[in-house]
């Protein structure tokens, strides 16, 4: 998937929120506890990302990120990765569904070009293929 560079990459939304399936993509360094953490030792940052499955238990998630205070996310991951909040919205009928996969990456890098031209496209492709998402909610830390 290509990303527009010259103008705002605005994709119109012509559906209904109540009929939409939602994916989460967070730059907050969120990943499963049994996945490798992000490389916080490298001053250049970490360009990799982690896939988080739809049926994840919030208690199995953690944050590896050294450029923001994630002590609140350590208590409740939903403050940066609102997976349980999404489930509540599905329950109340505000959205239709939760995507099959979500993405966490560490939104700190000195390699901006590689992040923009590499990682961002890879993440967009992950969501595009097999997540069934109609819309994506992006969060930082």
């Amino acid at each position: 998937m290509s990303i527009s560079r010259k103008c705002v990459p605005f994709t119109p939304f012509d559906g209904e929120i109540a009929k939409s399936t939602v994916a989460l993509v967070t730059a907050g360094g969120v990943h499963l506890k049994d996945q490798d953490g992000f490389n916080i030792a490298d001053e250049l940052g970490d360009l990799t990302y982690r896939i988080i499955p739809e049926d994840v238990n919030a208690a199995d998630l953690m944050v590896t990120h050294h450029h923001y205070d994630h002590s609140d996310a350590d208590k409740d991951i939903n403050v940066v990765f609102p997976i349980d909040v999404l489930r509540d919205l599905q329950q109340e009928g505000f959205i239709r569904g939760i995507a099959r996969k979500h993405v966490g990456y560490m939104g700190y890098t000195m390699q901006l070009k590689a992040m923009y031209e590499g990682t961002a496209r890879e993440i967009a492709n992950e969501i595009d293929k097999g997540s069934r998402a109609d819309v994506v909610v992006l969060t930082g830390g």
Partner: protein
Amino acid sequence: MKGIPTVLITVSPEVSAQMRPPRALYPNGFMIGNSLGKPNMRELQLQVLRDALSLLTQDTRPGKIIMRDYPNYGEYHEPPG
């Protein structure tokens, strides 16, 4: 290629504005690390996420960040112990 509509929840509006996000919500005064609010304040978190998703159907200007107030954010108290 159709693309996927996105909405950003940002707590660093000045930084996010540089990237001109298609749609973005800034919950006024939320600290970094509190995109959805404070831990276990589920009603607040629901309110922020509903508002963010609602931007998808509102006539927002691409690149503009919408600021909303959530007064109950300030009512958080650390749980004892």
